[in-house]
């Protein structure tokens, strides 16, 4: 009897933010091939955008992703402003960057928590998500929403940040910095996390270039790309910060890049707040009468990598065509490289390492033997198996389990 079997992860699974089906073809413990089915969450947003006015498209595109909900309006605004050839005010630039970076912080904290969960470190999960809450509260204070902030518009932003809001943001950032120290210490110095993540799910520089991967996934493999630096927009050229890179390309390197990026985000926001205070009062948007005919390509660096929007305008009040590429679209395809040859218990963290954009729905995934149809392993059991491997390492290191 053959010992090959198939483990489906998804379409709904706690590992994923969006519904997608991954089929892991395994021989014993080792993943031999991986196939995926996407489209479970296809909502025809590109087509819908053609029936919305430019103002309405902002509300549509920020619903593409619930976690990085400002990166799509960011890229869309950049694209449309390129068609109109307009420059927004400095005040609007600072506010846009503050929103973008606050989002990066909460998204990276969310990822750190999830990664901890997959490794069996539920304390990391609970800490990271607890420290993420004050950032979401900040969003509520600034925009009225914890998510889908409705801040952007063609020519600027909808709401100002001033007075007590600036003081409140600084206060929360001080706290975020302390907590990031704590999390970074917990991840960087832990021998068990090293054992579980180093040398796991490696993507080489050539893999990144071949698949066109972006964001922390690329930067962890030594590919120094970041739209904020390469094609600067909003307030990024006005502040000092550096692109974080690592060379190992494994899960640990990806965690390292994300954790260190949070410090850069805090620094960017602080400098933007200084900028807002220097500017004192000023316009937060410029008036745009109509969108001329033409084509605009807008990019923004989302927490997961480059978001790309291409807008074709025919001079009417709706886009004639609106092409959107989210970072997970190119990052997910790298699973073919990072998962094959890994054990099943490492596959979960390798899949999670690129931070595929997740769905909030959870449903049990069940594995069946390809030949007998017999149930082998459920989704929860896969995570338990991963947590079990961590416990085994801890035991071998004579640590308290």
């Amino acid at each position: 009897m053959s010992n090959k079997f198939l483990i489906p992860i998804g379409p709904y699974h706690p590992l994923q933010e969006e519904p997608e089906l991954f089929k892991l073809y395994c021989e014993g413990e080792i993943v031999k091939d991986i196939k995926w089915e996407t489209g479970y969450n296809h909502r025809g947003i590109e087509k819908l955008a053609e029936s919305k006015t430019y103002d309405q498209v902002f509300f549509l595109v920020e619903r593409i992703c619930g976690i990085c909900s400002t990166s799509h309006p960011f890229a869309f605004a950049n694209a449309v402003e390129e068609i109109c050839n307009i420059e927004i005010t400095n005040r609007a630039k600072y506010i846009r960057s503050i929103i973008g970076e606050l989002e990066r912080i909460h998204s990276h904290l969310l990822w750190v928590g999830l990664a901890g969960h997959f490794l069996g470190y539920n304390t990391v999960f609970m800490w990271a998500w607890k420290y993420r809450e004050p950032v979401l509260d900040l969003f509520e204070m600034i925009t009225g929403n914890r998510n889908s902030y409705a801040m952007f518009k063609v020519g600027g932003v909808r709401r100002d940040i001033e007075g007590y809001k600036i003081r409140e943001i600084r206060k929360v950032l001080d706290e975020v910095k302390k907590k990031t120290d704590l999390l970074t210490g917990a991840v960087m110095d832990d021998p068990v996390i090293h054992a579980r993540t180093k040398g796991v799910g490696i993507l080489t520089k050539d893999d990144i270039i071949d698949y066109g991967a972006v964001g922390p996934t690329a930067r962890a493999s030594g590919v120094d790309i970041d739209v904020r630096k390469d094609d600067p927009y909003a307030a990024y050229p006005l502040v000092n910060w550096k692109v974080i890179t690592a060379t190992a390309g494994d899960v640990f390197a990806k965690a390292e890049v994300r954790l260190l990026e949070m410090y850069e985000s805090v620094s960017i926001i602080e400098q933007c707040l200084d900028g807002l205070e220097r500017e004192k009062e000023g316009e937060i948007n410029v008036r745009v009468k109509n969108i001329p005919e033409g084509m605009g390509t807008g990019r923004a660096e989302a927490p997961r990598g480059e978001v790309f929007h291409c807008v074709f305008s025919d001079g009417s009040n709706s886009p004639a065509r609106h092409k959107i590429r989210a970072p997970s679209y190119v990052n997910i395809a790298t699973f073919k490289k990072s998962c094959i040859g890994q054990s099943i218990s490492d596959a979960t963290i390798s899949l999670a390492a690129v931070d595929p954009c997740y769905c909030c729905t959870e449903r049990l995934a069940v594995a069946y033997d390809m030949h007998t149809g017999e149930k082998i392993m459920s989704g929860a059991e896969i995570i338990r198996s991963s947590a079990g491997k961590t416990r085994l390492i801890m035991k071998n290191l004579n640590m308290r389990v």
């Binding site: 089915e37 996407t38 489209g39 296809h42 025809g44 590109e46 087509k47 390129e82 050839n85 270039i209 071949d210 698949y211 066109g212 790309i225 390469d230 094609d231 600067p232 033409g294 084509m295 390509t297 990019r299 480059e306 790309f308 291409c310 074709f312 004639a320 065509r321 092409k323 590429r325 679209y329 190119v330 395809a333 073919k336």
Partner: protein
């Protein structure tokens, strides 16, 4: 390589196949080429100029099926759009997926939504609506009077 040297190299080497070249600003260029020259142009951009393939945008207009292949030269922030126009009746073009995996999914998506054929694609299956959509019906095609 700088943005200018990439564009100049492209214009000199593929002069016969380039039908239009527009500089929209310092970091955005659109170069329209004959569809037959796409593999050589992509080869030059990917291997020699070190550009990254971002994505391709297809659209259906009165001219036919238009595809913009977006390449990025990250060192100088350049987005170079290679534009091709395919006929209404038989939209076919050589696949780039044998050169880089980055175009694999988007070519499948364009095939599914617009009915454009990608010659020599390693796996031109449906990407989005496998098993849930009628054959030969392409939702992003338009009807022109």
């Amino acid at each position: 390589m700088t943005a200018d040297s990439i564009i100049n190299g492209l214009l000199t080497r593929f002069n016969a196949d380039i039908t239009d070249s527009r500089k929209r600003n310092e970091k955005r260029h659109v170069v329209t080429i004959n569809p037959g020259a796409l593999p050589e142009v992509a080869e030059y951009l990917y291997r020699e100029a070190g550009c990254r393939f971002i994505i391709a945008s297809a659209l259906h207009t009165k001219k036919g099926f238009e595809i913009h292949y977006h390449f990025s030269k990250d060192e100088c922030g350049l987005v170079l759009n290679i534009h091709v126009v395919l006929s209404h009746d038989n939209p076919r073009i050589e696949s780039l997926s044998n050169m880089f995996n980055a175009s694999n999914w988007i070519e499948r998506e364009m095939h599914e939504l617009f009915g454009i054929d990608f010659i020599n694609h390693p796996n031109q299956e449906k990407l989005i609506s496998e098993g849930n959509w009628a054959e030969g019906v392409y939702p992003y095609r338009k009807e022109f009077k």
